[in-house]
Symmetry: C2
Subunit: 336 residues, 2 copies
DNA sequence: CCTTCATTGTAAAACGTTTTCATTCGCTTT
DNA sequence: AAAGCGAATGAAAACGTTTTACAATGAAGG
């Protein structure tokens, strides 16, 4: 309809130059009110809609940022993405969303695609940061911030919670309830967040209570419900030695744990206590409701995007590496 | 690093014209192999990365499509989005993702933003299509396809399942089990999908079985878990008259229903049978596992995007209005 | 009434591609 | 050897903005 009408048409209609039209479109104050009015009327009349691509070329700003997540259909990243999008909207940015499936080559490819599209910045989420990816990040022509993603050297802008401490708190709360054997169902240990952080927190809590670490109590999952069930069933095979308190690395796995337990005829929290991690909406959609570590995904997304805007605007920044607070939400999968 | 090097630099380095560089970058066959090689080497050497914005301006194609969803943090739309993104990637498109919150003004605003960004097409999801939005859609300079979204006149490209029939089947299966009072927990009736389709299916199933329609058996929810609980509790207040079979408009509400029932000391499926709708991943994350109508969200997304690419490529199209099959996934919230 | 300095407006040069059209090149064909 | 022809290349004009460098206008100061 109006997609073929240009700034030049508006200029002609309003009998001014295109620079003037550009000024009014961009809110430049150096335009006489009467002229502004004239131009606005012309815009209205013609149904003019500025071409963002041309604008991007001329100004070298696209008001678009790239977002790379492992998988948007994962409730966890979906929440994060929503946080990002909300503050992006607030600052007039749009989001190009990409799924990486945590695949290193895809990640690099997506990064290059996004840079080719001239995004003004990028927000990245991923489990493991390969060195070559980090290298690319560091030489990127636009700022990149990590959301809920650790990098070895902590020298990239990032927003996280303190995973070590969160895991520690969760496990300690279980210990404080009198448990001596604590199961830990974790995601892949290659991922720093599991292997270095949550796991360390688990061990620290044990040590502080002078409890022995027993390898058979930690079992690997892959974040999914099914893997949580499977992991719990594996623990149950320990028989007498099976831990009666479980800390699961994600809520979804925790649900699997609880159902595996219930399917085997056990009661939660009477026979077994379980704590999850993330506080996704799932946590309240199960009976018993899940006690869980709250990782504020939405906030992490929002703060990441805000941090990115700060960098883009060259605002003063206290710290590049922000740590958001966590806490444990007490529900019914642990005893009061 | 390389973001300032242009096609012109490559041309100089390879001692050819920029037109030739453009040719090799775009895979134009009319380039002598030796020249092609020379250019590719220069590209490699300089780390040249084509500027998609300039490209978009010159070619009037951005290989970007806009996606408008009510709320990406909703598992339902997240799945859909993943389907869209996957086939978009397949066809070398990127996705600009926007949340509308089903807000009419936001929807219109987003549409205009996307058109301003010169997307090649748009995929839209939303509950209710206001007339002015439909008008904008019809005059849009780029194709728009509706995903899991109805429009009154069925004259826009769209991908859906047959909601009326799906609801009918669900309710009929309940009737076939001997129920005479069937509860229907629905989303807002202004939304065509509920008010016209699912509701109609519900009534048709009743009629076909010569069962009376009773208004008190249908109660409104807003798609959320909590609203499902609340709705069920409201039904329970009917006491003796409370239906013992419930059809819930979404899985999430169905979970709420089941938990409301369990919290009140009832057993599912022994005392009450429940059928959900959508078959989100939630369906298997509850005990009893949820019997539900499967609406293939991922597929709807994927097919929508595929349809869009067909339109963009001017491929032959059988029909603009595609209906995907549905079925009922039998699980444990209904008796065998 | 003439300077001088803001204030507004203009013209034109970027921005980095694609694309059109013309030209040149390297071979056959005659 | 000339002509012809398709393939390969190049020159330059879009594409629709922003931005820069100026010019014109008008008001204020002397």
């Amino acid at each position: 309809m109006n997609s073929n009408i240009t700034i030049y048409d508006v200029a002609r209609e309003a009998a001014v130059s295109m620079a003037t039209v550009s000024r009014v479109v961009n809110g430049n104050p150096n335009v006489k009110p009467s002229t502004r009015k004239k131009v606005q009327d012309a815009i209205e009349q013609l149904g003019y809609r500025p071409n963002a691509v041309a604008r991007g070329l001329a100004s070298k700003k696209t008001t678009t940022v790239g977002v790379i997540v492992p998988d948007i259909s994962n409730i966890f990243f979906a929440d994060l993405a929503r946080g990002i999008e909300d503050v992006a909207t607030m600052y007039k940015y749009n989001i190009i969303l990409c799924n990486s499936d945590q695949n290193r080559e895809k990640e690099i490819h997506l990064l290059n695609t996004l840079l080719g599209k001239q995004v003004d910045g990028i927000i990245f989420m991923g489990g493991r940061l390969h060195e070559d990816l980090v290298r690319e990040f560091k030489t990127s022509p636009v700022p990149i911030v990590l959301a809920a993603t650790l990098n070895q050297d902590y020298d990239l802008p990032a927003v996280n919670i303190d995973y070590e401490s969160a895991a520690h708190d969760a496990v300690k709360s279980l210990i404080d309830r009198g448990h001596e054997r604590i199961g830990f169902i974790t995601g892949p240990l290659e991922q720093q967040i599991n292997g270095e952080k949550k796991f360390a927190g688990y061990r620290r809590a044990l040590e502080e209570a002078n409890l022995p670490f027993n390898e058979q109590n930690v079992v690997l999952g892959n974040y999914t419900y099914d893997s949580g069930m499977k992991a719990m069933n594996q623990l149950l095979e320990l028989g007498e030695d099976c831990p009666r308190a479980i800390f699961a690395g994600t809520d979804e796995m925790a649900l699997g744990v609880i159902h595996a337990l219930q399917d085997a005829g056990h009661r939660v929290p009477e026979d077994f206590e379980v704590i999850g991690h993330d506080n996704t909406r799932l946590a309240t959609m199960i009976r018993p409701k899940l006690t869980t570590v709250v990782q504020p995904m939405y906030d992490i997304g929002a703060v990441s995007m805000r941090l990115l805007t700060k960098i883009l605007n060259k605002e003063e920044i206290e710290t590049n590496d922000v740590t958001l607070p966590h806490r444990i939400e007490q529900r019914d999968s642990t005893r009061p």
